[in-house]
Each structure stands twice: as structure tokens, then as C-alpha cells.
């Protein structure tokens, strides 16, 4: 897929709560084709503490309105600076980068997002819905405010929710949610979230011989396979998360599960 380096224009910046916001970005040109799971390398301006670009997933694309959405969690200087962006500001993106989730040979799937891990899953849900694949969504987080975009997900399938403190949905870890009892019904799990969560989920999936794809978040310098900084060990040696991922089938990974 052709990659671009483009100045996009911020057309919205919606604050979800103190930690999360969604940027809407548009362009005078039609946005390029993007696949679920892909990401952009975002240039953070005006902050001396930020030198490299920041990788952010494609959260959703509205081709009719020519808007790309990014869902961002504020964790440090770069994401904090992005949170201040206002309508009309410019944001430079290198995109779309990385591979995509595979959607072949499946009829019934479960999307599992932990906290900010839902970022790439909404666009995937939309995609699966278009492909008429039955989609169930499981969202988890520490507390209520970590459960994001549940209404948007409901357009595409049934939504289950877990919070560690029980403030929304079932109380407990996402991996203990009631939907997990039906794991064998699903042809594939798609998962994005904190590494420990993904590992537990991958272990459960493995136990039930359910296929499982995960989206990884290694630290990146270039995002285009040039620096070899973002590797993860796979059955075929070290692979770049930015080009051969971010989506991996857990079978490819060297996880001790």
C-alpha cells in the first residue's frame, strides 16, 4: 500500500475524559486507503521534549466525510501536546503504516480491547460488519472511564464490559468476563491492550484452540522498517512490529503461554 507524508487538518478534538481524546483529521485531498490495524506516525510540534514521531492507530475512517479519527491516551509529553490541538491546526502524518488484521475464513469473532487498546478495534469492527462477519466486542479497563466508545461499538455487534472495580459492566478482569465462557464459539479473537492482558487472553485462546490475533505497541523510531528498533521475537526470528506487525497471530510470537 502506498504510504504518504501529509499535513492533515484537525477538524475535531473530542475529549472523552481526562485521559482520552479523539482527534478528527481531514485533508483537501481524499484520504488514502487504510486498513484496520494500521497506524500513523504523528509529528508532535512545539514540544522540546519530543523528538521522534509517535505511532497512533487508525481508530476509524469516515470516507464519506473524508475524516480520519485517532483515539489517544495521554501518557506523556507527546500525547499531552496532541491533546491541546485545536480545530484548524495542522498535524503531519506518515501513514498508513503496518499490516492489518486478517478477516479471511471467519464467521463469528470476538474483539477484545483493554483501555486504549480499543483504538484499532473500532475500524476493525466496522470492517467486519461490512463483511457481514458476526462480531462480539469485549471491553475492559480498570474503571468506568477506561471503557471507551462502547456506543460506537454497539453499531457493529453485542458489547460486553468488564471493569476491575465493577464501576461499569462485570466486576473483575476482562479475561474473566462471562462472554469468555463462549470462547470456543469464536473463530478468532482480535485483541489489543496492555501486554499482560493480551498474554493471558492468548493463553486462554490457545487452551481452547481458538485463533488469536494481537496488536503490539513496541517503541518505534521510524515506523517504516528502516531502523529495526521495534522488533519482537517470532518463530521466524526478530520481526519489525512496524512493518510485519503491529498485528501478529500469537502462533507467530515467542510468548511463553
Amino acid at each position: 500500500m502506498k504510504k504518504f507524508i501529509d499535513d492533515l487538518t484537525v477538524c475535531s478534538n473530542r475529549k472523552l475524559n481526562n485521559d482520552y481524546f479523539i482527534l478528527g483529521l481531514t485533508s483537501v485531498k481524499p484520504l488514502p486507503a487504510m486498513l484496520p490495524g494500521q497506524f500513523a506516525e504523528v509529528k508532535v510540534e512545539n514540544n522540546p521534549a519530543v523528538f521522534l514521531r509517535r505511532p497512533i492507530s487508525v481508530h476509524d475512517v469516515d470516507y464519506a466525510k473524508n475524516i480520519l479519527y485517532l483515539l489517544v491516551k495521554i501518557v506523556g509529553e507527546g500525547t499531552r501536546t496532541l491533546s491541546f490541538l485545536e480545530t484548524g491546526n495542522t498535524l503531519n502524518l506518515v501513514y498508513p503504516l503496518g499490516n492489518t488484521f486478517t478477516t479471511e475464513d471467519v464467521k463469528n469473532v470476538l474483539l477484545v480491547g483493554g483501555g486504549c487498546g480499543i483504538a484499532p478495534l473500532l475500524y476493525l469492527a466496522r470492517h467486519l460488519h461490512n463483511l457481514k462477519i458476526k462480531t462480539t466486542i469485549l471491553l475492559g479497563g480498570r474503571t468506568e472511564t477506561d471503557i471507551l466508545e462502547s456506543e460506537a461499538f454497539r453499531q457493529y455487534g453485542e458489547v460486553y464490559i468488564s471493569t476491575d472495580d465493577g464501576s461499569l459492566g462485570e466486576k473483575g478482569f476482562l479475561t474473566n468476563n462471562s462472554i469468555m465462557a463462549q470462547i470456543t464459539n469464536f473463530d478468532r479473537l482480535y485483541c489489543c491492550g496492555p501486554l499482560p492482558m493480551m498474554k493471558v487472553l492468548a493463553a486462554i485462546a490457545k487452551q481452547h484452540q481458538t485463533d488469536c490475533e494481537v496488536s503490539l505497541e513496541n517503541t518505534m523510531a521510524c515506523g517504516i522498517g528502516a531502523c529495526l528498533c521495534c522488533v519482537t521475537p517470532t518463530t521466524a526470528g526478530n520481526k519489525c512490529v512496524c512493518t510485519e506487525g503491529p498485528v501478529f497471530n500469537v502462533k507467530q510470537l515467542q510468548w511463553q503461554i
Partner: protein, 303 residues
């Protein structure tokens, strides 16, 4: 429009802008962003005799105006380069230079002997300065004797243009450059990364799996510029300058300090189209300053 051509030994470059090893992949990663044939040359990732997996993750840390890397020469080895990568990139209308790395003298020799046969590889850059591998690498580049020894042996085995890449982690880089010149190199390139370290105060752990790593980016530019100036005064063969070049002005500074050509490294990560923009920018600088040939700038610092 100024004449941007420069020469290193017998080798002509359409302009003085090359891309630095390890920061530009094999070139094709950047094809969507720029026209590779507009560059003076590209230097591909450090290539060793055998395939290497490099160091464990994490390999990168952001630092003030720069970054540390601990990639550790991950590459598929010279045979895969020759059989699989070379055929994909040899059509690029630019000088494709292979960065040759290794831990043992015999490995360097074995690699360059194979490279002798590749028509479209007119030069190698001998990496005696990688800080991210346990054996060899930088060790070769931090003493005059070992730097001269490896250069001499490679010189004997390699027929085309030989550029030796120097380490900045030394007391006297001009001395090492001189040793390398005397040993038969056609050119030296400098600087490789400076050995640095990053710590996460919250977890109290090193950020990199290897504890230390190589520092690159604009933070090192003043050091690189000083070394290029010192080395270019000390030797007669052409110097290729690099270290923190982010734009055409930076590149011109290196030329003024004595570099015949420059390499763009970490800047490729911030703007994958930057190298071509720097070619344009140097041209514009020449026009603005009424300079007919970019060679007029080389070492033209007014003291």
C-alpha cells in the same frame, strides 16, 4: 543551478547527499516518500558475513534532541543481501554503498570479497565503529593499530572505493583517521554514534536491553562538526561528514568544516523525505550565495 557533483576517489556522486547506514533500510522503504535517484548515494544497513538477530528489545530510547539505539547489526547476512536484496535495489540510479560490519577480520574480508563482484555496488563503507555489538565493531575503531590493520587487510581484498567509518568514542579521532588513510582507505566517514545510556527513574532500570546504546541526532551535531573539522585538516583523502544533520543548513556546515559529502541518518525517521529536500536546499544555498559548484564550499570555513 549550481553543479552539485562531488568525487570520492574515482567515484562520482551526483550530489553530496547520501543516506546513513541503518537509518534508510535498503532504500526501497523510502520509495513512497522521495525519488531515490535524486540522492548522491545510499548506504545500506550494516551487513555481516552471517545473518544476525541483533539485540533484544527494547532497542531505542528517545533523548533530548536525539535517540539511543541498540539495534546491534541485525541483518540477513551478505548472501541474502546478494541474492535477495541486491536484485531489488540495483536499478536505483544512485551509488549504492554497502556498510560492511563484523567481529573478526576474516569476516570483513569474506564479505568484501563477495561484494567485489557486484556491478552496482561501487563502494563499501567499512564499519569499525559500531558501539552496539559485544565483539569487534567499535573495538577496531578505537585504536590506531587495529584500525590500520583492518583497513589494510580490507584494502587488499576490495578493489573499489573504500570508505572507513570512524568512531567518535576516542580521544583523538584525527590520529585514527590518519592511520586509516595511511592504510589505504579512499575516504573516511564520521561520526558513528556516541556511546550513551538511558535510565527509567521510575522503574530504576536501563531503558535499553543492552544498557548502553548509540546516540544520534541533532544533539551530537556540534561534536560531529568538530571531528569533521579536525579530521579534514589532518588527512588528504575526502571526508564524509554526518551526525545530526536535519536540514540543508546543517549539511552546508559540514561541507564548510571540510566534508566532501554528507550522510543523513536519524533525520530520515522524523521526515522520510528529508534527504531529497536537503539536495534541493544545498542547491538553493549555492544559488543564493552565487556558488557555481558545491565543491567550492568544501572546507571553505573562514577562520
Amino acid at each position: 543551478m549550481a553543479d552539485l557533483k562531488v568525487k570520492i576517489g574515482a567515484l562520482e556522486f551526483k550530489n553530496p547527499v547520501l543516506t546513513a547506514s541503518g537509518t534508510f533500510g535498503y532504500g526501497h522503504e523510502f520509495q513512497d516518500f522521495l525519488n531515490i535517484s535524486r540522492l548522491g548515494g545510499i548506504i545500506v544497513k550494516g551487513t555481516t558475513l552471517e545473518p544476525r538477530q541483533g539485540n533484544p528489545y527494547p532497542r531505542m530510547a528517545e533523548t533530548p534532541s536525539g535517540m539511543l539505539n541498540a539495534v546491534g547489526l541485525q541483518n540477513k547476512g551478505i548472501d541474502v543481501f546478494i541474492n535477495e536484496i541486491y536484485p531489488q535495489i540495483k536499478h536505483f540510479d544512485t551509488n549504492i554503498i554497502v556498510n560492511v560490519s563484523g567481529s573478526k577480520l576474516e569476516d570483513y574480508i569474506a564479505v568484501v570479497e563477495k561484494l567485489n563482484h557486484l556491478d552496482r555496488i561501487p563502494a563499501i563503507e567499512l564499519n569499525i565503529s559500531c558501539p552496539n555489538v559485544k565483539q569487534g565493531g567499535m573495538a577496531f575503531g578505537t585504536s590506531c593499530t587495529s584500525a590500520a590493520e583492518v583497513t589494510k587487510a580490507v584494502r587488499a581484498a576490495y578493489k573499489k572505493t573504500l570508505i572507513v567509518k570512524l568512531s567518535p568514542n576516542v580521544t583523538n579521532i584525527a590520529e585514527i583517521a590518519k592511520a586509516v588513510e595511511d592504510a589505504g582507505a579512499d575516504s573516511v566517514s564520521l561520526i558513528n554514534t556516541l556511546l550513551g545510556m538511558a535510565i527509567d527513574a521510575e522503574t530504576r532500570r536501563p531503558v535499553l536491553s543492552t544498557i548502553t546504546g548509540g546516540l544520534s541526532g541533532p544533539c551530537i551535531k556540534p561534536i560531529a562538526l568538530r571531528m569533521v573539522w579536525q579530521v579534514s585538516k589532518a588527512i588528504k583523502i575526502p571526508v564524509v561528514g554526518l551526525g545530526g544533520i536535519m536540514n540543508a543548513t546543517d549539511a552546508v556546515e559540514f561541507l564548510l568544516a571540510g566534508a566532501t559529502a554528507v550522510q543523513i541518518g536519524t533525520a530520515n525517521f522524523i521526515d522520510p523525505a528529508i534527504s531529497e529536500k536537503i539536495v534541493d536546499g544545498i542547491g538553493e544555498y549555492c544559488t543564493r550565495h552565487n556558488i557555481a559548484a558545491v565543491t567550492e564550499l568544501i572546507g571553505a570555513l573562514k577562520i
